[in-house]
């Protein structure tokens, strides 16, 4: 890989990562990753959640140590074993969750760790002077005496940038910087990043938003499952190519199923909107229907509103507006997940260990979670323990959960068997609608096939299924109809026969089918 720097090509790269390898227990977070970022450039690093981007950057910032590999800064090999050493090497990082002390002023936050002496008085004056100069240079516009906790998120982020610059950072890492920003704040951020590049700073921008990558970066590196799969010049690539690289082509799993025979709509969603705690609109007026005997697949790059849609449908997140109808009956506002289940909405959550199971609880306790007040599990005020054990054992055998031991804690099963426990619990309750999020994430091939067959069987028994998955193959092979989500909206819809991986990839990247040519390189507003 020969890369010419923008102006000459003789200068050593600002940062070079060579053969970085990192494991967390069984998780291989980084596999032999190489990265080379030139001085005075903005280098994007994209990949889905869990692709290893943040781990890689945390290694560069000294938060974790790589198992193997080396880090070079301006051609010099450096050992970065703590953030202090990264700072000394001229590397600054703006974390996804800001590392700020809320009750402190901006000035105090910036000074922390760079106070300039045991007493604060002198350092404070110097810092104020230096910061004002930096603010002017990069149009940062931050009130130095403002209390950080009272400032808007966009300005807090600029405090983080100011912190890094004040410590003399030449290379700035930004981890998903726009996730919490409004579009206007994001625009401002990109202008600041442009100014930094023009001053000869290097920016490493981690994101999974392709629009940003196309708009602001000079080069883009793509990570998938801990590996660096591509590193291109941004001008020479397209959104859909990057989307494809991020998601990856895998062996297509064929699912045996007959054509769907959709009947009456069992689930209808009308103008559903979800606004998160920070006031950002995550789901923007989404409407669709799912019919009896149909699997509706929802595709999209992670973080485009699918999780919020599932949460709203399951009653976990209260929608800001809109209606949900189950079998024609409107769901009253404020219905909690438990009441939702009683209305016939079963839910296999995206993250089984966080939302689907209580890992230290035994299988027989997990198999009744959310349905524990079902009369068949109770005799009067007490659990009917024998009956619970018996039905747990039956379901374990029916779903081939191994080992079929009702007393084993959920944490001790493999990922596939844990997922089968959750699927068994939700499917065997005979729901009207089944919500399934990432049913096969971290699940072995055998369990994937089993779970897919079960979902098809449930469909054929006349139920409606909503399947959310970031695995495009899973959607393509399992769903009868496909919706693609992008930026909180439904970007497109198609039947299974008409589904084309390339078209879906474009929709996932936010490119309409009519404008599939690469976009010009500019800072674009929506």
């Amino acid at each position: 890989m020969v890369v010419a720097a923008a102006d000459g090509g003789e200068r050593a790269p600002a940062v070079e990562l060579i053969g970085i390898d990192k494991r967390f227990g069984a998780v291989h977070a980084n596999r032999n990753v190489n990265l080379r970022a030139e001085v005075g450039s903005i280098h994007g690093i994209v990949g889905e959640n869990g692709a290893g981007k943040s781990t890689l950057m945390s290694i560069l910032y000294g938060f974790y140590q790589a198992d193997r590999g080396e880090v070079r800064v301006r051609g010099q090999r450096v050992r970065v074993t703590s953030p202090r050493e990264a700072i000394d090497a001229g590397i600054g990082m703006v974390h996804q969750h800001f590392m700020l002390v809320d009750p402190f002023t901006v000035l105090e936050n910036v000074m922390l760790g760079a106070e300039g002496g045991p007493l604060l008085a002198r350092g404070r004056e110097e810092a104020a002077r230096a910061l004002e100069a930096l603010e002017r240079e990069y149009a940062l516009d931050v009130p130095l005496d403002g209390v950080v906790g009272e400032l808007p998120v966009g300005i807090q982020q600029r405090v983080e940038i100011l912190k890094a610059l004040y410590r003399g950072a030449d290379t700035l890492i930004l981890d998903e910087p726009t996730g919490v920003l409004t579009p206007q704040e994001a625009e401002h951020l990109f202008r600041i990043l442009g100014a930094l590049r023009d001053q000869g700073k290097t920016v490493l921008l981690i994101t999974h938003k392709l629009k940003e990558i196309m708009a602001v970066t000079d080069r883009v590196a793509v990570m998938r499952r801990g590996e660096m799969v591509a590193d291109r010049e941004t001008a020479a690539t397209t959104r859909e190519e990057i989307a494809e690289l991020m998601v990856g082509r895998k062996v297509l799993l064929r699912v045996d199923k007959t054509p769907a025979k959709p009947d009456r709509p069992l689930l209808a969603v009308e103008d559903l909107r979800v606004v998160d705690r920070r006031g950002v609109e995550r789901l923007k007026s989404v409407s669709f229907q799912v019919r009896a005997g149909e699997i509706l697949g929802i595709a999209g790059v992670a973080g485009n509103g699918q999780s919020e849609l599932l949460a709203a449908l399951a009653g976990i997140a209260a929608p800001a507006s809109g209606r949900i109808l189950i079998d024609g009956q409107p769901v009253p506002a404020g219905t909690d997940p438990h009441a939702m289940r009683r209305l016939g909405m079963a839910h296999v959550p995206e993250d089984r260990l966080r939302d689907g199971l209580v890992p230290p609880f035994e299988a027989r306790e997990n198999i009744i979670l959310g349905y524990h007040d079902d009369p068949r599990y109770n005799t009067g005020p007490l659990f009917d323990r024998a009956n619970i054990r018996q039905s747990c054992l039956q379901e374990m055998q029916a779903y081939d959960v191994r080992p079929s031991d009702p007393e084993l804690p959920a944490a001790n099963f493999s990922g596939g068997n844990q997922q089968k426990l959750v699927v068994a619990r939700e499917v065997e309750r005979d729901p009207v609608v089944l919500l399934v999020g990432q049913p096969t994430r971290g699940v072995d091939i055998g369990a994937i096939e089993f779970i897919h067959r079960r979902l098809v069987a449930l469909r054929d028994s006349g139920k409606a299924i909503v399947l959310v998955s970031v695995e495009l193959d899973e959607i393509m092979s399992l769903a009868d109809r496909i919706l693609v989500m992008f930026d909180g909206r439904i970007a497109g819809e198609m039947g299974q026969e008409a589904a084309d991986e390339r078209v879906i990839g474009c929709m996932m990247a936010g490119v309409g089918p009519e404008e599939m040519a690469p976009e010009p390189h500019h800072v674009g507003a929506e």
Binding site: E85, A86, M93, V101, D102, E108, N109, A121
Partner: protein, 323 residues
């Protein structure tokens, strides 16, 4: 004139009773501002009182006694740190464990060594911190109003009372004007911010605990070698918890700590005088009620009636780097 003399005498007692509270509350301020719950103030104070009285009794020097008290209290603070910081244990459990162990161990050792039922021998005057007269106290004593205020209220206390008062501006200076203070306040709010700024969270918290341990040691030595003349079983009598209540009441700030401790000391000083006194309309106030008043005030404050007491955000949570 009678009332004036009475008032001076109550305020004089207020100062003496507030001294251990001020020192212990400032000790707790260091620990808690750095993010470590310090319910072990009671035990550290008691251990220091025992060590100081024992050492003073053996050596005949209150200063060596004070040194011993500080060392023992710092060692217990380090033990607390070892459990809570290094091994990420539960702060309350560790603190209560220290309180319980000391409450049993001190009188047991005392009994084994001195055979006086857990008490230490009564200290001679030269083995104690006794009152020191400030310059001109004698000469000014007869000046009306100002005379008694200066020579009875301000002068004549032992050195540790003045140390406690002087500690307040000193702690405020350290907390707000020094690098150590800035970092310590930061680590109690958001240790991750401190860590990413390249500062060791562990070492910072240990240092805060050591400073707190030293202050708590002075508080303990005051009880057994200045305020009293020997160690007595359970002589702290809840003063550690009261100091913690004062710290919360003062919202973890040094000057309000001083004022709150003076208020609590004042309540303590009046309690003895008000016992059995018939007040118009109310009747006799039970002494227990006045003793309970500081705790009642703190609970009222915590319930949010008198402004909210917002503790340091990271208090009680061990720092673990997140994945």
């Amino acid at each position: 004139m009678e009332a004036f003399t009475q008032a001076v005498s109550i305020l004089d007692a207020t100062l003496r009773l507030a001294t251990p509270l001020i020192l212990a509350a400032l000790a707790g301020l260091f620990a808690e501002r750095s993010g470590v719950v310090d319910i072990g103030l009671e035990g550290k104070m008691l251990a220091a009182a025992f060590a100081a009285a024992t050492t003073a009794a053996v050596t005949g020097s209150p200063w060596i006694g004070l040194g011993a008290g500080i060392i023992v209290s710092v060692l217990l603070a380090l033990l607390h740190g070892f459990a809570c910081i290094t091994h990420r244990g539960d702060h309350v459990v560790s603190g209560v464990a220290i309180n319980t162990v000391v409450a049993g161990l001190a009188p047991t050792l005392g009994n084994a060594w001195f055979r006086q039922g857990g008490q230490t021998p009564t200290l001679e005057a030269e083995a104690r911190f006794t009152g020191i007269d400030l310059p001109f106290a004698e000469a000014l004593a007869d000046v009306p109003v100002l005379g008694p205020i200066y020579s009875d209220l301000i002068s004549g206390h032992n050195i540790l009372v003045y140390v406690a008062i002087a500690a307040v501006p000193l702690v405020a200076f350290v907390l707000y004007r020094t690098r150590f203070g800035l970092r310590m306040r930061a680590v109690g709010e958001n240790p991750a911010a401190v860590d990413t700024a390249g500062i060791s969270v562990t070492w910072l918290r240990y240092r805060a605990l050591i400073v707190g341990g030293a202050l708590c040691g002075i508080a303990g030595a005051y009880l057994s070698t200045a305020h009293n003349a020997s160690f007595v079983r359970d002589m702290t009598a809840g003063k550690g918890y009261l100091a913690l209540a004062a710290l919360i009441f003062a919202k973890w700030r040094p000057v309000p700590v001083l004022l709150t401790c003076l208020l609590f000391g004042f309540l303590d000083a009046t309690e003895a005088r008000l016992r059995g006194v018939e007040l118009p309309l109310i009747g006799a106030i039970p002494g227990e009620f006045i003793q309970a008043l500081p705790y009642i005030l703190t609970v009222v404050l915590l319930a949010g009636f008198v402004g909210r007491a917002i503790p340091p955000r990271a208090i009680g949570t061990p720092y673990v780097k997140e994945r």
